[in-house]
């Protein structure tokens, strides 16, 4: 609708379109001048990797990788690396892990910041509320290397968690960091991600809550509503649209399953359970066979699917957001 309206408008006035554009460019030459470094950055670091004659860009995926020769001398091999990828069981294992972990995160991680924000909203004393928030948000600013370092000390065989568990149950210590059990690995990923991100995630919901008209609570309380009624009928409807939009956006990110976290936790024992597609691509690019064409093919495959997912999710989120907010 809007597009066609603008189009018609510009057509009507288009008589001296080029001259006007030129005049506008000259008039705002400072703005355009200031934009040059920004555009250069995106051209070099985002567009050159896509298409580039010197290094090949995504075309690398269609040529035979040669370590010693420049890209122009590699042989075209068509879809060879995509076929290779298709037949590799460990590729599909990484794909499956990525999707499973993402769904586990949607189920168990996603609701937690919402619950936390509702709980925090029920704390009447501002100072106490701010204290809680300060504590919960802090881990978000540490790198995954630091978090994994702290986790390892707690979870290792002679660490505190095993110390408490063996003292209480008398069982043998459990190796949380290197085992191939699905439940313990998923728990480790989800709990550590919550430890790092729950406070940060709740900020956006707290902001939505602060937009709720306080008189709604007062009116409801006068009418005899209790705490629970207020949460269900006022607070939750107030953040529902935010939650839906974030949920949809999260669905668009299903193939991006937290590289930093998993990369620092993965090892030979738990690889089959927690290695995601990004970690897999990294492994083939830099660690395993150094077959960079194969890694590029896997990366391109992921990027294309990811693009479709993100576009779909964002389109949906925009529509839902508008329906719910306005």
């Amino acid at each position: 609708m809007e597009l066609s309206r603008n189009g018609a408008g510009s057509l009507r006035k288009n008589r001296s379109g080029f001259g006007r554009t030129l005049r506008k460019c000259v008039e705002h030459r400072y703005l355009l001048f200031m934009l040059i470094p920004v555009l250069a950055y995106y051209l070099i670091f985002n567009y050159a990797p896509m298409l580039n004659l010197e290094t090949g860009g995504i075309l690398m995926a269609f040529k035979q990788h040669r370590l010693t020769k420049p890209f122009s001398e590699w042989n075209w091999v068509g879809l060879k690396y995509f076929e290779m990828m298709w037949r590799k069981p460990d590729f599909w294992l990484a794909m499956r892990n990525t999707v499973f972990i993402s769904f586990a995160r949607l189920l168990f991680e996603f609701p937690m910041p919402i619950v936390l924000s509702i709980l925090l909203n029920e704390v009447a004393r501002t100072k106490l509320k701010r204290f809680f928030q300060t504590v919960f948000t802090f881990p978000n600013f540490l790198s995954w290397i630091l978090i994994v370092g702290i986790m390892r000390d707690l979870l290792q065989v002679d660490g505190v968690i095993n110390g408490i568990m063996t003292a209480m149950s008398g069982n043998q210590p459990y190796n949380f960091l290197a085992n191939s059990e699905v439940v313990s690995n998923y728990l480790m990923l989800i709990l550590s991600n919550l430890f790092k991100g729950i406070g940060w995630g709740s900020i956006i919901y707290l902001a939505s809550i602060s937009g709720i008209d306080p008189s709604l609570y007062e009116a409801a309380t006068v009418d005899g509503a209790n705490r629970w009624h207020n949460i269900i009928h006022i607070t939750w409807p107030g953040i529902r649209s935010t939650a839906i939009v974030l949920l949809i956006l999260q669905c668009g990110n299903i193939l991006n399953g937290g590289f930093d976290q998993i990369f620092n936790l993965v090892n030979g024992v738990n690889r089959g359970i927690i290695e995601t597609i990004d970690v897999y691509i990294y492994r083939y690019a830099f660690q395993q066979s150094m077959n960079q064409s194969f890694a590029a093919a896997s990366g391109l495959f992921k990027a294309v699917i990811n693009f479709a997912l993100l576009m779909a999710a964002n389109g949906l989120a925009r529509r839902m957001g508008e329906d719910n907010l306005f």
Binding site: K24, E27, H28, Y30, L31, M34, L35, P37, V38, L39, Y42, I44, F45, N46, P49, L51, N52, T55, G56, G57, I58, M60, F71, L119, L120, E122, A124, F132, V135, F136, F138, F141, L142, S143, I145, L146, V148, G149, I150, M151, R152, D153, L154, V160, G163, A167, F195, I203, A207, N226, R227, I281, Y282, A285, Q292, A295, G299, L300, A303, M311
Partner: protein, 305 residues
């Protein structure tokens, strides 16, 4: 002051039994969560100041038997530790400055309604959030630019964060146009309007984004992992990764000699925790400022994404 206490007292009287039980449970859950979040940090500090013999002799070391800072003096002797701290500081200082400058330029220009080809530029940038060439093609480009074994590999490739750019652009858009118009009437050009009028007005979002960038640069490890082999140029995070994730504590000569000469025994865990504490410290120091700005900054920027 008097009125607020009166209001609180009045509310207290009005609170029903059910309300008080709910209050109790909510606070109990939040306090339990707080303890869970604090405990790993408590454990980190505890182990970092523990003596070797105490860790060895106590199966469940939960309370300090002694507070001993020699683990810290040993951690500093780890090969290239101080150098890598210098690298991290350099990357953070220079990187954040460049980050901020280019993000300011981009976000301000894109927020101007009279920018020619405004929509095109915006989608040109936005597209990169949805699609990329992938890891390997990106790596080849950065490698060809000569960033291998250079500390600039941690500064130039991440010079712009599209998400922060859009946050800042949204903030600039929310500033009333009348401010710019009055400056224009006075004959100021775009460059002057930006630096003398808009930047001071946007101080809260600039502070927020500056802190985000500085934390990101301090936490940088991945770029160093793929581009830097020279042990003299590694950031602190990567030294830590070597100690913690690869668990290869190849104690350097300086460290071995110091330990032998003084008959000091240091537990590997203590060494790791001391290093983690040192690396966490700068973030802890800027955190109060972060805390002050980020909620406000993010919300102001997120008005219309």
């Amino acid at each position: 002051m008097k009125t607020t206490t009166a209001v609180i007292r009045k509310n207290r009287i009005r609170k029903s039994m059910g309300d008080r039980i709910a209050d109790f449970f909510i606070h109990a859950v939040l306090i339990a969560l707080t303890l869970i979040v604090i405990f790993p940090f408590y454990n980190m500090l505890l182990i970092s100041v523990a003596r070797y013999e105490d860790i060895i002799s106590t199966p469940l070391y939960l309370f300090p038997k002694a507070i001993d800072f020699k683990n810290y003096s040993m951690a500093i002797l780890y090969p290239n530790f101080l150098r890598s701290a210098g690298v991290s500081l350099f990357v953070t200082a220079v990187g954040t400055t460049l980050n901020l400058l280019i993000t300011l330029l981009g976000s301000y220009v894109l927020s101007r309604k009279n920018l020619p080809f405004r929509k095109f530029f915006f989608y040109f940038i936005l597209f990169t959030m949805y699609f990329g060439g992938g890891l390997i093609p990106w790596y080849m480009v950065v490698k060809n630019l000569g960033f291998v074994d250079s500390v600039w590999a941690m500064i130039v490739p991440p010079m712009l964060n599209t998400f922060y750019l859009i946050l800042m652009r949204n903030y600039f858009q929310s500033i009333p146009e009348s401010l710019e118009e009055s400056a224009k009437i006075d004959g100021a050009n775009d460059l002057r309007i930006m630096f003398q009028i808009m930047v001071p007005v946007a101080a809260p979002i600039i502070a927020t984004i500056a802190l985000f960038y500085s934390v990101d640069r301090w936490n940088e490890w991945w770029l160093a992992l793929i581009f830097i082999q020279d042990p003299q140029k590694l950031p602190l995070q990567l030294i830590l990764r070597k100690m913690v994730v690869d668990a290869t504590i190849d104690l350097g000569n300086a460290m071995m000699n110091a330990m032998r000469d003084s008959h000091i025994q240091v537990h590997g865990r203590s060494l790791q925790m001391a290093t983690i504490t040192i690396t966490t410290l700068p973030i802890l120091m800027v955190y109060p400022f972060l805390q002050k700005y980020f909620t406000k900054g993010i919300m102001l920027g997120a008005i219309k994404a």
